[in-house]
Symmetry: C2
Subunit: 203 residues, 2 copies
Amino acid sequence: MARGQETRKRILDVAQSAVLAKGFDATSIDEIVANAELTKSGFFYHFRDKNALALALIERHIEIEDQLFDELLQRARDLAEDPLQRALIALKLLAELIDDMPNGHPGCVVATAVYQDRLFDREVREANRRAVLGWRRRFRAMFDDIVAVYPAQDDVDLDSLADMVSSVIEGGIVMARALAEPSVTAQQILLLRSYVKVLFSPR
Amino acid sequence: MARGQETRKRILDVAQSAVLAKGFDATSIDEIVANAELTKSGFFYHFRDKNALALALIERHIEIEDQLFDELLQRARDLAEDPLQRALIALKLLAELIDDMPNGHPGCVVATAVYQDRLFDREVREANRRAVLGWRRRFRAMFDDIVAVYPAQDDVDLDSLADMVSSVIEGGIVMARALAEPSVTAQQILLLRSYVKVLFSPR
DNA sequence: TCCAAATTCCTACCGCGGGTACAGTACCAT
DNA sequence: ATGGTACTGTACCCGCGGTAGGAATTTGGA
């Protein structure tokens, strides 16, 4: 890795841990450059402004999260043949994954960006949108597999249902933080799992 | 209303519309005092700091929202006898209510506070928590009425289920904003309605 | 080995926003 | 008339994002 890229990565690492701990706008550039051991000028050489930093962080985060989802879905596929069972396993794993995150997950980056609108520009919002659409695609495929075998007990739009996975995660995070009860997020995901179960289980 | 209370209200009104339009931290005190036609000193006479303003706004907002929920649940009670029907009607009304909000609802205050943590202090978070617990109580009662008549098709915790209403709203708002598709929130609520339907409908 | 480009440092500065300090004033009720 | 309540006015501080522009250093390539 070229010298410049190393520094860039160091900045991102430092910024990431600070942002996850305290939030984006509570993390000052001065603080980042201090911990990354370079100067303010050095920072602005790598990032046009704080927005550019946010964009880089978000893109990085999304990549990792995508990978996480893929692994999770793959594990579910390995554990069962039946598409409904696979989905139920996947949602169970997802709930466990989120429950295991120590201080209750760092709070999804997507939502942070959504709720600090004015801080971010078009590019950031676009990256955000692509990420969410990616999740929709993944879970939609999961539900497509199910309906090919089990008819739904109620008339639902599968894209919306796929969105519901993300929606419940995001909402669950908000609720967990509002209530100061980290376990809430996982509980909400398990309720979604229950929905999937009763929706597709044959009578 | 005393002279002081009038001014205080004027500040809150001006602040509210600005905050709903642009977000809390994008709204400067200078701007508020300009539109409320008083001075900075005048502002700080009424509010210790920006935090106190946030608290007042949130408490006000929660009051209105509580009233809205109560009206909605009352209307549902008027429209049907059967507790399951009532719940389904309430959720339908809720979806319509949210869908009718012009530029897609202003984004729930609770979530804004949650995601701008460091901006707010303990008091604000406490107010937030109480609000969410209030919603839990309301919807929990709704579900209690249902289980008294219809056994659930799956084993679910009713508090969690009650929380799911809030959760889906919050998550739906995040998704709608992330996707720039305002209709998403209402769709998510209708999916929750579908869950309630299949969960409690006798086989 | 030398040059140019890339990378990092240094210093000084700007504007905005939240917030403080404090003196003065207008109004209203007892 | 007096004392609280509700302000106005002015001046100031600090942190933060960001800019300006030159100097130094490192690095890869001809």
